[in-house]
Symmetry: C2
């Protein structure tokens, strides 16, 4: 008998066939068992092998999600929610088969409460769709993980990105949500008030739960006023350590940066080539300030002084939208720019996050480790939060090389944890980082996580094989 909350083997094929048959009858063309579609729904940009679900069903309403979950629960087969497929740690793999619920058709914006600075959306709404819809309101949704991810998926993985240093992560920007739990009921986690002390924080329980506690079917997200003025600029540094030290002092001085991104010299070279830019090929910080004209000028100047203290500069900044866009386009292109460094290789994106005081040391040691291994691995990071990414470019057919890269990532995670950091700042656990959960959290915290999982999903049907194992 499995422990409550956990599935440890694929269900019996006949049971799966029965359940899929029931769903086929109900959903017709909206249920598919085509191999290509199934594999696409287990798509993962890691080196974790694809494990396809047994079927994909396109849900169009919360009531349909309930129906699907009820069928899955009745037959005890897994359910894996799918948004846009941009997760990075194997979150979407159907480890034990089952049903992938594609939520991309639930993409309606249900309400924009401009006066309350919030919006109510279905989970398949992507951040770009929301921001396009908001264009004439003077408001925007600040969380930007790079990919045009769905808001349901971003909430499920507690995503963040370049603006988090100022606007927080999904944890801070989801006011309330609705979720279908393992028994098929619909939970509303909170009212729409900005704060509440009325009971357990169910919103934050579902944010970051990666589909293992329920399927998010609606979100109320905070919006921000578009700043009157925005300045953006880039600042070269003599070393990654100097750049990281400047970041630390900027944060400690309370300079309210909206974005502060580090690119190491390899990353800058990749971006220059790919985006046809002429940035100096040294470690570089890209920054953005939000406020009024006077304020962004004042803050930009203060940052320039800090950069100079560490041998960085000049800090050149611009306020015109088209010039800012060009600068940030370079940042947004880093993934593709990096892949172009080594055509044919796979980029294995990984992230850690440490207290800001340890950031320079952590990046520095990681960089030395990259050099020692001989890996081609650019570094880019949301360094204002102490969060950075490494993208080893790996020939996945070369077992020796894969082993080197895997060992490198393990050392990087262990280094971050030893510095009171986390194995993932924003990508989530999925199956890729489960093995680090014990070292990071300790046995009692993992026991609590397992008991939460057991309480909310006793049959273990909700995205099994993710976040925590049954121990």
């Amino acid at each position: 008998m499995d422990k409550p909350g956990f599935m440890t083997a694929r269900p019996d094929p006949a049971t799966v066939e029965t359940a899929v048959g029931i769903l086929k009858q109900r959903f017709g063309e909206r249920l598919s068992t085509s191999q290509a579609l199934r594999e696409q729904h287990a798509h993962t940009t890691t080196w974790i092998p694809v494990e396809a679900p047994d079927a994909v069903v396109f849900a169009e309403s919360e009531a349909e999600v309930q129906e699907i979950v009820q069928v899955a629960a009745a037959h005890r087969i897994p359910i894996v929610p799918f948004g846009t497929g941009s997760s990075l740690e194997g979150h979407l793999n159907a480890t034990f088969g089952g049903i992938s619920i594609d939520l991309s058709r639930m993409n309606r914006i249900l309400a924009i409460h401009a006066e309350d600075l919030d919006a109510v959306v279905q989970p398949g709404v992507t951040r770009k769709l929301l921001n396009e819809t908001l264009r004439d309101t003077g408001l925007f949704f600040p969380i930007d993980p790079g990919a045009d991810a769905s808001l349901g998926g971003m909430a499920a993985t507690r995503a963040s990105g370049t603006n988090a240093v100022r606007y927080g992560t999904m944890k801070d920007n989801v006011l309330a949500l609705r979720a279908v739990t393992a028994d098929g009921s619909v939970v509303k986690t909170s009212q729409r008030a900005r704060k509440s002390s009325a009971g357990y924080d169910l919103t934050r329980l579902f944010v970051g739960s990666e589909g293992t506690l329920g399927i998010i079917t609606e979100l109320t997200v905070k919006l921000q006023g578009i700043p009157e003025a925005i300045s953006a600029g880039s600042c070269p540094f003599p070393s990654v350590k100097a750049a990281a030290d400047a970041v630390i002092l900027t944060i400690q001085a309370g300079i309210p940066v909206a974005r502060i991104e580090l690119l190491d010299e390899l990353q800058v070279r990749a971006v220059n080539t790919y985006s046809k830019l002429g940035l100096p090929e040294t470690p570089l910080l890209l920054l953005e300030f939000h406020g009024t004209d006077a304020w962004v000028a004042e803050q930009s100047e203060r940052f320039g002084e800090i950069a100079a203290e560490f041998g960085g500069g000049p800090f050149t900044w611009v306020t015109k939208p088209e010039e800012r866009s060009k600068l940030w386009q370079a940042r947004h292109d880093v993934y593709w720019a990096s892949l172009a460094l080594r055509p044919g290789a796979k980029g294995v994106s990984t992230d850690v996050c440490v207290p800001i005081s340890r950031l320079a040391e952590c990046i520095d040691e990681t960089k030395h480790d990259i050099e020692a291994t001989g890996l081609l691995a650019p570094i880019v990071g949301h360094v204002g939060d102490g969060n950075f990414h490494v993208l080893p470019l790996v020939d996945v057919e070369n077992a020796a090389e894969v082993a080197v890269a895997k060992a490198f990532i393990e050392r990087m995670v262990e280094r971050a944890i030893a510095m009171e950091g986390t194995c993932t700042g924003e990508h989530g656990v999925g199956s890729g980082k489960m093995k680090y959960m014990l070292a990071e959290h300790g046995a009692p915290a993992l026991a609590v996580m397992r008991s939460l999982k057991g309480a909310l999903d006793p049959l273990g049907i909700m995205n099994p094989g993710k976040i925590v194992d049954p121990a």
Copy 2:
């Protein structure tokens, strides 16, 4: 048999006696059964009758908290954690008797990481003690619920207060915590990195759990840089509605107020008399801005223009510390100033929170309701969040008057919930607001809360009779 997570009757007196005897042997003078001390530990500033614990024990370390919980678990008797006794909804009442664990002696500041803008503290550290200790660092801890509460208690009730509009609530300011759970183990909820996507958000699960899931034994809290410049000022308005409308536009315009507090005319009269001030006896907003000299001047002027649009003003503001302190002293004295309006009466503090767009309407209806009932009930609020308090001054010996006040509070809560608000913005549920949980959250969310409680505290020994009933 009780449902997992819930105790529904007092334990057998002989069992209690045995457990208290064991603890007495272990803790000697640090365990007391004196009636005065027991009643003081069930102290509540509501009209909920005092229900004293069977004993009070002063814990001095996490290991001692573990020992006490283990004895309580072995005998299945309740545990009620106690910080400073400033909670408002009967949180500290020993509904089913048991042991009050007084944590006030666990008041050491374990680390101040100035470079990371965080501090690690024991739960009995009060906010004032922390801020006094920080005085020479240029940093401060922003959450100010009025009372000099303990940080453990503030986390347990998800407290906030005047600065929340800018700095958030305890939910946003606790980075990590340690808690002793019902089985006596110690859970560490998070590393010290600023953000993480590594699993369920245990920090936010314990914040706001009011001692019902575990006893907080250590907290890592965020600190802020003391602003270079602070301006504070007061602004009279012709009506509460006009003041609330000005608040709404201020928030919508994205003016980054650090504090924006509303006092109605009755509250201003009380403050004038008590604190010997000469404020105009009309509805009043008190504001504070944090930033640089130029910035606070710019924002103060922008607010003044908004106030004028609604017939308010003049907005007079000051930047000298002593003048600012005098202004905020008036705000901090409101509780005692209000009690002085009717000597001998008890002030029953209650709070609700609504989306900002509904704030003017909610306060206006509440004010009309106060007039219709004939209650003496000043209004004061953290209106930037949509949160406000009413303090009916009640002769608790007069049953008819108590009934009128109770019915008034019920209507106020129902009104807030109907406006997509919450029955408590910052005081917490305790036993006083349990009856509103179903109306606010709905049955499926309450079922999830009950199952979380059952999973983490199957015996129901952790502060039973609070937040949710067994249904």
